[in-house]
Amino acid sequence: MCDHRCFVYEIVKMSGSSNLVAMKKIVQQLRFEASINRVKVSQAAADLQQFCMQNALQDPLLTGVSSSTNPFRPQKVCSFL
Protein backbone atom coordinates (compact mmCIF):
# COMPACT_ATOMS: atom_id res chain seq x y z
CA MET A 1 0.00 0.00 0.00
CA CYS A 2 1.28 3.40 -0.88
CA ASP A 3 -0.41 5.95 1.36
CA HIS A 4 0.54 9.56 0.79
CA ARG A 5 -0.42 10.37 4.36
CA CYS A 6 2.36 8.42 5.95
CA PHE A 7 5.27 9.01 3.67
CA VAL A 8 8.62 9.65 5.19
CA TYR A 9 10.79 11.32 2.65
CA GLU A 10 14.48 10.82 2.62
CA ILE A 11 16.47 12.87 0.20
CA VAL A 12 19.91 11.48 -0.19
CA LYS A 13 22.69 13.29 -1.98
CA MET A 14 24.84 10.89 -3.87
CA SER A 15 28.02 11.90 -5.54
CA GLY A 16 29.54 10.73 -8.79
CA SER A 17 27.72 7.87 -10.53
CA SER A 18 24.48 8.04 -8.60
CA ASN A 19 22.69 5.70 -10.94
CA LEU A 20 23.60 2.86 -8.56
CA VAL A 21 20.18 2.60 -6.98
CA ALA A 22 18.44 2.78 -10.35
CA MET A 23 20.79 0.10 -11.70
CA LYS A 24 20.07 -2.19 -8.74
CA LYS A 25 16.38 -1.86 -9.46
CA ILE A 26 16.90 -2.73 -13.13
CA VAL A 27 18.92 -5.84 -12.24
CA GLN A 28 16.31 -6.94 -9.68
CA GLN A 29 13.57 -6.58 -12.29
CA LEU A 30 15.58 -8.50 -14.90
CA ARG A 31 16.28 -11.32 -12.42
CA PHE A 32 12.53 -11.59 -11.81
CA GLU A 33 11.66 -11.57 -15.50
CA ALA A 34 14.31 -14.19 -16.32
CA SER A 35 12.80 -16.56 -13.77
CA ILE A 36 9.26 -16.84 -15.12
CA ASN A 37 8.01 -20.01 -16.82
CA ARG A 38 7.36 -19.86 -20.55
CA VAL A 39 5.62 -22.15 -23.01
CA LYS A 40 6.56 -22.82 -26.62
CA VAL A 41 5.04 -20.58 -29.27
CA SER A 42 3.50 -23.65 -30.96
CA GLN A 43 1.57 -24.39 -27.76
CA ALA A 44 0.57 -20.77 -27.18
CA ALA A 45 -0.49 -20.34 -30.82
CA ALA A 46 -2.56 -23.52 -30.73
CA ASP A 47 -4.38 -22.23 -27.64
CA LEU A 48 -5.09 -18.84 -29.23
CA GLN A 49 -6.45 -20.60 -32.30
CA GLN A 50 -8.59 -22.94 -30.23
CA PHE A 51 -10.13 -19.99 -28.38
CA CYS A 52 -11.02 -18.34 -31.71
CA MET A 53 -12.61 -21.50 -33.06
CA GLN A 54 -14.56 -22.23 -29.89
CA ASN A 55 -16.04 -18.74 -29.80
CA ALA A 56 -16.46 -18.12 -33.52
CA LEU A 57 -20.16 -18.87 -33.52
CA GLN A 58 -20.77 -16.42 -30.67
CA ASP A 59 -18.99 -13.60 -32.49
CA PRO A 60 -21.67 -11.46 -34.17
CA LEU A 61 -19.20 -9.69 -36.42
CA LEU A 62 -17.91 -13.01 -37.77
CA THR A 63 -21.21 -14.75 -38.25
CA GLY A 64 -23.06 -11.69 -39.44
CA VAL A 65 -26.16 -10.71 -37.50
CA SER A 66 -29.53 -10.08 -39.08
CA SER A 67 -31.27 -6.75 -38.68
CA SER A 68 -33.76 -8.21 -36.26
CA THR A 69 -31.09 -8.92 -33.66
CA ASN A 70 -28.56 -6.21 -34.41
CA PRO A 71 -29.97 -2.89 -33.25
CA PHE A 72 -27.61 -0.93 -35.46
CA ARG A 73 -28.46 -2.57 -38.77
CA PRO A 74 -31.27 -0.88 -40.69
CA GLN A 75 -34.68 -2.40 -40.09
CA LYS A 76 -36.76 -3.51 -43.01
CA VAL A 77 -39.41 -0.95 -43.61
CA CYS A 78 -42.98 -2.05 -43.02
CA SER A 79 -45.58 -0.84 -45.39
CA PHE A 80 -49.28 -0.90 -44.83
CA LEU A 81 -51.33 -2.13 -47.70
Binding site: M1, C2, D3, H4, R5, C6, F7, V8, Y9, E10, I11, V12, K13, M14, S15, G16, S18, N19, L20, V21, A22, M23, K24, I26, V27, Q29, L30, R31, F32, E33, A34, I36, R38, V39, K40, V41, S42, Q43, A44, A45, D47, L48, Q49, F51, C52, M53, N55, A56, Q58, D59, P60, L61, L62, V65, T69, N70, P71, F72, R73, P74
Partner: protein
Amino acid sequence: TCEYNYVLSCISCEPRVLSLQNILSLILFLLPASALTTGIYMIFSTKPEMATQEVQPNETLTNLKAESDTLKTKLEDERAKLHDVELHQVAEKVDGLGQFIMKTRRTLKGHGNKVLCMDWCKDKRRIVSSSQDGKVIVWDAFTTNKEHAVTMPCTWVMACAYAPSGCAVACGGLDNKCSVYPLSLDKNENLAAKKKSVAMHTNYLSACSFTNSDMQILTSSGDGTCALWDVESGQLLQSFHGHAADVLCLDLAPSETGNTFVSGGCDKKANVWDMRSGQCIQSFETHESDINSVRYYPSGDAFASGSDDATCRLYDLRADREVAIYSKESIIFGASSVDFSLSGRLLFGGYNDYTINVWDVLKGTRVSILFGHENRVSTLRLSPDGTAFCSGSWDHTLRIWA
Protein backbone atom coordinates in the same frame (compact mmCIF):
# COMPACT_ATOMS: atom_id res chain seq x y z
CA THR B 1 33.66 18.47 -9.81
CA CYS B 2 30.90 16.08 -8.78
CA GLU B 3 27.47 16.04 -10.30
CA TYR B 4 24.74 15.56 -7.72
CA ASN B 5 21.62 13.56 -8.36
CA TYR B 6 18.92 12.91 -5.81
CA VAL B 7 17.16 9.81 -4.73
CA LEU B 8 13.63 10.04 -3.49
CA SER B 9 12.54 7.11 -1.42
CA CYS B 10 9.81 6.46 1.02
CA ILE B 11 9.04 3.54 3.26
CA SER B 12 6.50 1.98 0.96
CA CYS B 13 7.73 2.96 -2.51
CA GLU B 14 10.56 1.99 -4.76
CA PRO B 15 13.37 4.51 -4.76
CA ARG B 16 13.47 6.80 -7.74
CA VAL B 17 16.38 8.81 -9.00
CA LEU B 18 15.19 12.33 -9.67
CA SER B 19 16.83 15.57 -10.64
CA LEU B 20 16.84 18.44 -8.16
CA GLN B 21 14.19 20.23 -10.18
CA ASN B 22 11.89 17.20 -10.08
CA ILE B 23 12.36 16.79 -6.32
CA LEU B 24 11.51 20.41 -5.67
CA SER B 25 8.44 20.38 -7.88
CA LEU B 26 7.31 17.10 -6.31
CA ILE B 27 7.56 18.56 -2.81
CA LEU B 28 5.76 21.74 -3.84
CA PHE B 29 3.03 19.65 -5.43
CA LEU B 30 2.56 17.19 -2.57
CA LEU B 31 2.63 19.48 0.44
CA PRO B 32 -0.50 21.53 -0.27
CA ALA B 33 -2.60 18.54 -1.36
CA SER B 34 -5.51 17.94 0.99
CA ALA B 35 -4.77 14.23 1.35
CA LEU B 36 -1.48 15.01 3.05
CA THR B 37 -2.48 17.39 5.83
CA THR B 38 -2.04 14.71 8.45
CA GLY B 39 1.24 12.91 8.91
CA ILE B 40 4.84 13.70 9.67
CA TYR B 41 7.42 14.56 7.10
CA MET B 42 11.12 14.17 7.57
CA ILE B 43 13.52 15.48 5.04
CA PHE B 44 17.19 15.06 5.67
CA SER B 45 20.30 14.59 3.68
CA THR B 46 23.27 12.41 4.36
CA LYS B 47 26.86 13.19 3.59
CA PRO B 48 28.21 11.52 0.47
CA GLU B 49 30.65 9.39 2.55
CA MET B 50 27.78 7.86 4.51
CA ALA B 51 25.92 7.03 1.33
CA THR B 52 28.83 5.13 -0.15
CA GLN B 53 29.27 3.13 3.08
CA GLU B 54 25.93 1.46 2.42
CA VAL B 55 27.03 0.10 -0.96
CA GLN B 56 27.87 -3.61 -0.97
CA PRO B 57 31.40 -4.21 -2.24
CA ASN B 58 30.25 -6.61 -4.99
CA GLU B 59 27.45 -4.39 -6.23
CA THR B 60 29.46 -1.68 -7.89
CA LEU B 61 28.01 -0.02 -10.91
CA THR B 62 30.18 -1.96 -13.36
CA ASN B 63 29.23 -5.32 -11.84
CA LEU B 64 25.57 -4.44 -11.96
CA LYS B 65 25.84 -3.28 -15.55
CA ALA B 66 27.54 -6.55 -16.50
CA GLU B 67 24.87 -8.58 -14.71
CA SER B 68 22.15 -6.54 -16.42
CA ASP B 69 23.67 -7.29 -19.84
CA THR B 70 24.00 -11.00 -19.03
CA LEU B 71 20.40 -11.17 -17.87
CA LYS B 72 19.15 -9.38 -20.98
CA THR B 73 20.99 -11.86 -23.21
CA LYS B 74 19.69 -14.75 -21.14
CA LEU B 75 16.13 -13.45 -21.53
CA GLU B 76 16.54 -13.16 -25.30
CA ASP B 77 17.95 -16.70 -25.49
CA GLU B 78 15.15 -18.17 -23.36
CA ARG B 79 12.52 -16.47 -25.49
CA ALA B 80 14.23 -17.54 -28.73
CA LYS B 81 14.51 -21.19 -27.64
CA LEU B 82 10.75 -21.49 -27.47
CA HIS B 83 10.17 -19.74 -30.78
CA ASP B 84 9.58 -22.93 -32.75
CA VAL B 85 6.87 -21.74 -35.11
CA GLU B 86 4.96 -18.64 -36.24
CA LEU B 87 1.29 -18.08 -35.39
CA HIS B 88 0.27 -17.81 -39.03
CA GLN B 89 1.93 -21.17 -39.77
CA VAL B 90 -0.11 -22.83 -37.02
CA ALA B 91 -3.20 -21.19 -38.51
CA GLU B 92 -2.61 -22.34 -42.08
CA LYS B 93 -5.24 -25.05 -41.83
CA VAL B 94 -7.88 -22.64 -40.54
CA ASP B 95 -10.54 -21.52 -43.01
CA GLY B 96 -10.03 -18.05 -44.36
CA LEU B 97 -12.59 -15.40 -43.56
CA GLY B 98 -15.15 -14.60 -46.23
CA GLN B 99 -15.80 -11.19 -47.63
CA PHE B 100 -16.18 -8.71 -44.87
CA ILE B 101 -18.73 -5.92 -45.16
CA MET B 102 -19.10 -3.33 -42.46
CA LYS B 103 -20.60 0.10 -42.86
CA THR B 104 -21.16 3.18 -40.82
CA ARG B 105 -24.59 2.72 -39.26
CA ARG B 106 -24.67 5.84 -37.08
CA THR B 107 -22.73 9.08 -37.05
CA LEU B 108 -22.62 10.99 -33.77
CA LYS B 109 -22.15 14.70 -34.39
CA GLY B 110 -21.90 17.33 -31.72
CA HIS B 111 -18.33 17.74 -30.60
CA GLY B 112 -16.77 21.05 -31.53
CA ASN B 113 -13.27 19.69 -31.95
CA LYS B 114 -11.21 16.47 -32.21
CA VAL B 115 -12.71 13.43 -30.49
CA LEU B 116 -9.95 11.93 -28.37
CA CYS B 117 -11.50 9.06 -26.45
CA MET B 118 -14.69 7.06 -26.06
CA ASP B 119 -16.10 4.21 -24.00
CA TRP B 120 -19.24 2.07 -24.08
CA CYS B 121 -21.68 1.62 -21.24
CA LYS B 122 -22.44 -1.98 -20.24
CA ASP B 123 -26.02 -1.46 -21.47
CA LYS B 124 -24.59 -1.70 -25.03
CA ARG B 125 -26.27 1.47 -26.16
CA ARG B 126 -24.78 4.41 -24.31
CA ILE B 127 -21.42 5.90 -25.15
CA VAL B 128 -19.28 8.52 -23.45
CA SER B 129 -16.86 10.54 -25.54
CA SER B 130 -14.38 13.33 -24.81
CA SER B 131 -12.87 15.96 -27.00
CA GLN B 132 -10.17 18.60 -27.41
CA ASP B 133 -12.83 21.25 -26.90
CA GLY B 134 -13.11 20.24 -23.24
CA LYS B 135 -16.53 18.63 -23.58
CA VAL B 136 -17.54 15.18 -22.41
CA ILE B 137 -20.78 13.92 -23.99
CA VAL B 138 -22.93 10.89 -23.15
CA TRP B 139 -24.82 9.62 -26.21
CA ASP B 140 -27.56 7.11 -26.86
CA ALA B 141 -25.96 5.31 -29.80
CA PHE B 142 -29.25 3.84 -31.07
CA THR B 143 -30.97 7.19 -31.47
CA THR B 144 -27.81 9.39 -31.69
CA ASN B 145 -29.33 11.67 -29.04
CA LYS B 146 -27.08 13.42 -26.55
CA GLU B 147 -28.13 12.57 -23.01
CA HIS B 148 -25.59 14.50 -20.96
CA ALA B 149 -22.86 17.01 -21.61
CA VAL B 150 -20.16 18.25 -19.25
CA THR B 151 -17.68 21.02 -19.87
CA MET B 152 -14.33 20.30 -18.28
CA PRO B 153 -12.15 23.12 -16.97
CA CYS B 154 -9.38 22.10 -19.38
CA THR B 155 -9.03 21.38 -23.07
CA TRP B 156 -7.69 18.08 -24.48
CA VAL B 157 -9.75 15.66 -22.44
CA MET B 158 -7.70 12.65 -23.50
CA ALA B 159 -9.35 10.01 -21.39
CA CYS B 160 -12.87 9.02 -20.50
CA ALA B 161 -14.50 5.88 -19.15
CA TYR B 162 -17.96 4.63 -18.25
CA ALA B 163 -18.51 3.16 -14.78
CA PRO B 164 -19.64 -0.50 -14.75
CA SER B 165 -22.92 0.47 -13.13
CA GLY B 166 -23.64 2.99 -15.87
CA CYS B 167 -24.23 5.64 -13.21
CA ALA B 168 -21.04 7.67 -13.60
CA VAL B 169 -18.31 8.63 -16.04
CA ALA B 170 -14.66 9.43 -15.40
CA CYS B 171 -12.55 11.79 -17.49
CA GLY B 172 -9.38 13.84 -17.49
CA GLY B 173 -6.56 15.19 -19.61
CA LEU B 174 -4.42 18.31 -19.45
CA ASP B 175 -5.71 19.08 -15.96
CA ASN B 176 -3.52 16.16 -14.75
CA LYS B 177 -6.51 14.77 -12.90
CA CYS B 178 -9.14 12.11 -13.30
CA SER B 179 -12.58 13.29 -12.16
CA VAL B 180 -15.73 11.24 -11.70
CA TYR B 181 -19.14 12.70 -12.59
CA PRO B 182 -22.23 10.86 -11.30
CA LEU B 183 -24.86 10.81 -14.06
CA SER B 184 -28.19 12.17 -13.04
CA LEU B 185 -31.56 11.18 -14.45
CA ASP B 186 -32.55 14.80 -14.20
CA LYS B 187 -31.45 16.37 -17.49
CA ASN B 188 -31.48 19.84 -16.01
CA GLU B 189 -29.11 19.05 -13.19
CA ASN B 190 -25.67 20.56 -13.49
CA LEU B 191 -23.35 17.57 -13.56
CA ALA B 192 -20.28 19.68 -12.88
CA ALA B 193 -21.58 20.47 -9.40
CA LYS B 194 -21.27 16.85 -8.26
CA LYS B 195 -17.82 16.33 -9.73
CA LYS B 196 -15.35 14.36 -7.64
CA SER B 197 -11.60 14.67 -8.19
CA VAL B 198 -10.08 11.25 -7.77
CA ALA B 199 -6.65 10.97 -9.33
CA MET B 200 -3.79 13.45 -9.30
CA HIS B 201 -0.76 13.07 -11.49
CA THR B 202 2.13 15.40 -12.18
CA ASN B 203 1.49 15.41 -15.92
CA TYR B 204 -1.41 14.85 -18.32
CA LEU B 205 -3.86 11.98 -17.88
CA SER B 206 -3.63 9.73 -20.94
CA ALA B 207 -6.06 6.92 -20.05
CA CYS B 208 -8.41 5.81 -17.31
CA SER B 209 -10.52 2.76 -16.62
CA PHE B 210 -12.79 1.62 -13.81
CA THR B 211 -11.90 -1.79 -12.42
CA ASN B 212 -14.68 -4.33 -11.86
CA SER B 213 -16.66 -1.89 -9.73
CA ASP B 214 -17.42 1.81 -9.53
CA MET B 215 -15.11 2.01 -6.51
CA GLN B 216 -11.67 1.92 -8.08
CA ILE B 217 -10.07 3.63 -11.07
CA LEU B 218 -6.84 2.83 -12.85
CA THR B 219 -5.05 5.74 -14.55
CA SER B 220 -2.02 6.27 -16.76
CA SER B 221 -0.19 9.54 -17.21
CA GLY B 222 2.40 11.54 -19.09
CA ASP B 223 4.38 11.51 -15.85
CA GLY B 224 5.45 7.94 -16.68
CA THR B 225 3.38 6.17 -14.04
CA CYS B 226 0.11 4.30 -13.71
CA ALA B 227 -1.91 4.41 -10.51
CA LEU B 228 -4.87 2.72 -8.83
CA TRP B 229 -7.23 5.00 -6.86
CA ASP B 230 -10.14 4.59 -4.49
CA VAL B 231 -12.97 6.68 -5.93
CA GLU B 232 -14.74 7.49 -2.68
CA SER B 233 -11.74 8.80 -0.73
CA GLY B 234 -9.44 9.76 -3.61
CA GLN B 235 -6.72 7.73 -1.92
CA LEU B 236 -3.85 6.32 -3.95
CA LEU B 237 -3.98 2.54 -3.49
CA GLN B 238 -1.04 1.48 -5.64
CA SER B 239 1.36 3.12 -8.04
CA PHE B 240 3.18 1.48 -10.92
CA HIS B 241 6.67 2.67 -11.83
CA GLY B 242 8.72 1.24 -14.65
CA HIS B 243 8.05 3.15 -17.83
CA ALA B 244 10.86 5.47 -18.84
CA ALA B 245 8.58 7.96 -20.58
CA ASP B 246 4.91 8.96 -20.92
CA VAL B 247 2.43 6.11 -20.50
CA LEU B 248 -0.19 6.46 -23.25
CA CYS B 249 -2.62 3.60 -22.75
CA LEU B 250 -3.76 0.80 -20.49
CA ASP B 251 -6.16 -2.13 -20.50
CA LEU B 252 -7.40 -4.34 -17.66
CA ALA B 253 -7.23 -8.11 -18.03
CA PRO B 254 -10.61 -9.83 -18.52
CA SER B 255 -11.89 -10.47 -15.01
CA GLU B 256 -11.53 -14.24 -15.14
CA THR B 257 -7.79 -14.02 -15.54
CA GLY B 258 -6.98 -12.15 -12.39
CA ASN B 259 -5.64 -8.85 -11.22
CA THR B 260 -3.34 -7.67 -13.96
CA PHE B 261 -3.29 -4.91 -16.53
CA VAL B 262 -1.11 -3.93 -19.47
CA SER B 263 0.21 -0.45 -20.26
CA GLY B 264 2.00 0.99 -23.29
CA GLY B 265 4.21 4.05 -23.49
CA CYS B 266 6.45 6.41 -25.39
CA ASP B 267 9.41 4.28 -24.32
CA LYS B 268 8.17 1.70 -26.90
CA LYS B 269 7.52 -0.76 -24.07
CA ALA B 270 4.39 -2.65 -23.15
CA ASN B 271 4.39 -3.69 -19.48
CA VAL B 272 2.15 -6.16 -17.70
CA TRP B 273 1.55 -5.30 -14.03
CA ASP B 274 0.29 -7.08 -10.92
CA MET B 275 -2.34 -4.73 -9.50
CA ARG B 276 -1.92 -5.81 -5.91
CA SER B 277 1.87 -5.69 -5.57
CA GLY B 278 2.60 -2.94 -8.08
CA GLN B 279 5.26 -5.10 -9.68
CA CYS B 280 5.92 -5.25 -13.40
CA ILE B 281 5.68 -8.95 -14.20
CA GLN B 282 6.42 -8.93 -17.92
CA SER B 283 7.80 -6.40 -20.36
CA PHE B 284 7.85 -6.34 -24.15
CA GLU B 285 9.97 -4.03 -26.28
CA THR B 286 9.69 -4.81 -29.98
CA HIS B 287 7.84 -1.76 -31.29
CA GLU B 288 9.91 0.89 -32.99
CA SER B 289 7.95 3.87 -31.75
CA ASP B 290 5.35 5.04 -29.21
CA ILE B 291 2.68 2.51 -28.28
CA ASN B 292 -0.65 4.33 -28.54
CA SER B 293 -3.05 1.55 -27.64
CA VAL B 294 -3.06 -1.84 -25.91
CA ARG B 295 -5.93 -4.30 -25.67
CA TYR B 296 -6.20 -7.77 -24.15
CA TYR B 297 -7.18 -10.74 -26.28
CA PRO B 298 -10.58 -11.98 -25.02
CA SER B 299 -9.06 -15.08 -23.36
CA GLY B 300 -6.63 -12.92 -21.38
CA ASP B 301 -3.61 -14.93 -22.59
CA ALA B 302 -2.38 -12.31 -25.05
CA PHE B 303 -2.70 -8.64 -25.90
CA ALA B 304 -2.46 -6.49 -29.02
CA SER B 305 -0.78 -3.11 -29.38
CA GLY B 306 -0.98 -0.29 -31.92
CA SER B 307 1.98 2.00 -32.47
CA ASP B 308 3.29 5.04 -34.32
CA ASP B 309 5.58 2.63 -36.19
CA ALA B 310 2.50 1.79 -38.35
CA THR B 311 2.22 -1.76 -37.03
CA CYS B 312 -0.05 -3.62 -34.68
CA ARG B 313 1.47 -6.54 -32.82
CA LEU B 314 0.23 -9.51 -30.82
CA TYR B 315 2.10 -10.56 -27.69
CA ASP B 316 1.40 -13.90 -26.02
CA LEU B 317 1.80 -13.76 -22.24
CA ARG B 318 2.51 -17.46 -21.71
CA ALA B 319 5.12 -17.62 -24.47
CA ASP B 320 6.42 -14.27 -23.19
CA ARG B 321 7.06 -12.87 -26.68
CA GLU B 322 5.63 -11.17 -29.73
CA VAL B 323 3.85 -13.77 -31.88
CA ALA B 324 2.45 -11.72 -34.77
CA ILE B 325 2.92 -8.42 -36.58
CA TYR B 326 0.06 -6.83 -38.51
CA SER B 327 1.58 -4.54 -41.10
CA LYS B 328 1.71 -3.76 -44.80
CA GLU B 329 4.19 -1.72 -46.80
CA SER B 330 1.33 0.49 -47.90
CA ILE B 331 0.46 1.37 -44.31
CA ILE B 332 2.85 4.09 -43.21
CA PHE B 333 0.80 6.02 -40.68
CA GLY B 334 0.62 5.14 -37.01
CA ALA B 335 -2.10 3.03 -35.44
CA SER B 336 -3.83 4.98 -32.70
CA SER B 337 -6.25 2.42 -31.27
CA VAL B 338 -6.97 -1.31 -31.44
CA ASP B 339 -9.66 -3.70 -30.30
CA PHE B 340 -10.60 -7.36 -30.84
CA SER B 341 -13.89 -8.86 -31.92
CA LEU B 342 -15.57 -11.15 -29.33
CA SER B 343 -13.87 -14.37 -30.48
CA GLY B 344 -10.50 -12.69 -30.90
CA ARG B 345 -10.39 -13.63 -34.58
CA LEU B 346 -10.60 -10.03 -35.81
CA LEU B 347 -8.40 -7.10 -34.80
CA PHE B 348 -9.68 -3.63 -35.62
CA GLY B 349 -7.08 -0.89 -35.89
CA GLY B 350 -7.77 2.83 -36.22
CA TYR B 351 -4.99 4.66 -38.04
CA ASN B 352 -3.73 8.21 -38.53
CA ASP B 353 -4.38 7.92 -42.30
CA TYR B 354 -8.13 8.19 -41.51
CA THR B 355 -8.81 4.47 -42.14
CA ILE B 356 -9.70 1.44 -40.05
CA ASN B 357 -7.93 -1.77 -40.99
CA VAL B 358 -9.46 -5.10 -40.04
CA TRP B 359 -6.94 -7.92 -39.52
CA ASP B 360 -7.30 -11.70 -39.35
CA VAL B 361 -5.53 -12.25 -36.03
CA LEU B 362 -4.55 -15.86 -36.74
CA LYS B 363 -3.42 -15.59 -40.34
CA GLY B 364 -1.87 -12.14 -40.05
CA THR B 365 -3.60 -10.83 -43.18
CA ARG B 366 -5.77 -7.79 -43.67
CA VAL B 367 -9.42 -8.69 -44.16
CA SER B 368 -10.90 -5.30 -44.87
CA ILE B 369 -10.23 -1.58 -44.90
CA LEU B 370 -12.97 0.80 -43.77
CA PHE B 371 -13.21 4.37 -45.06
CA GLY B 372 -15.41 7.12 -43.76
CA HIS B 373 -13.61 9.33 -41.31
CA GLU B 374 -12.26 12.60 -42.64
CA ASN B 375 -9.35 12.87 -40.25
CA ARG B 376 -7.27 10.67 -37.93
CA VAL B 377 -9.06 7.88 -36.11
CA SER B 378 -8.13 8.46 -32.49
CA THR B 379 -10.15 5.91 -30.54
CA LEU B 380 -11.94 2.63 -31.22
CA ARG B 381 -13.92 0.23 -29.00
CA LEU B 382 -16.04 -2.84 -29.58
CA SER B 383 -19.53 -2.73 -28.09
CA PRO B 384 -20.03 -4.92 -24.98
CA ASP B 385 -22.07 -7.53 -26.88
CA GLY B 386 -19.75 -7.51 -29.88
CA THR B 387 -22.39 -6.54 -32.43
CA ALA B 388 -20.73 -3.28 -33.45
CA PHE B 389 -17.78 -1.05 -32.77
CA CYS B 390 -17.46 2.69 -32.36
CA SER B 391 -14.65 4.87 -33.68
CA GLY B 392 -13.88 8.47 -32.78
CA SER B 393 -11.90 10.83 -34.94
CA TRP B 394 -10.20 14.21 -35.25
CA ASP B 395 -12.98 14.99 -37.76
CA HIS B 396 -15.16 15.77 -34.65
CA THR B 397 -17.45 12.76 -35.15
CA LEU B 398 -17.95 9.26 -33.83
CA ARG B 399 -19.12 6.44 -36.08
CA ILE B 400 -20.83 3.17 -35.19
CA TRP B 401 -19.89 0.34 -37.58
CA ALA B 402 -21.75 -2.94 -37.92
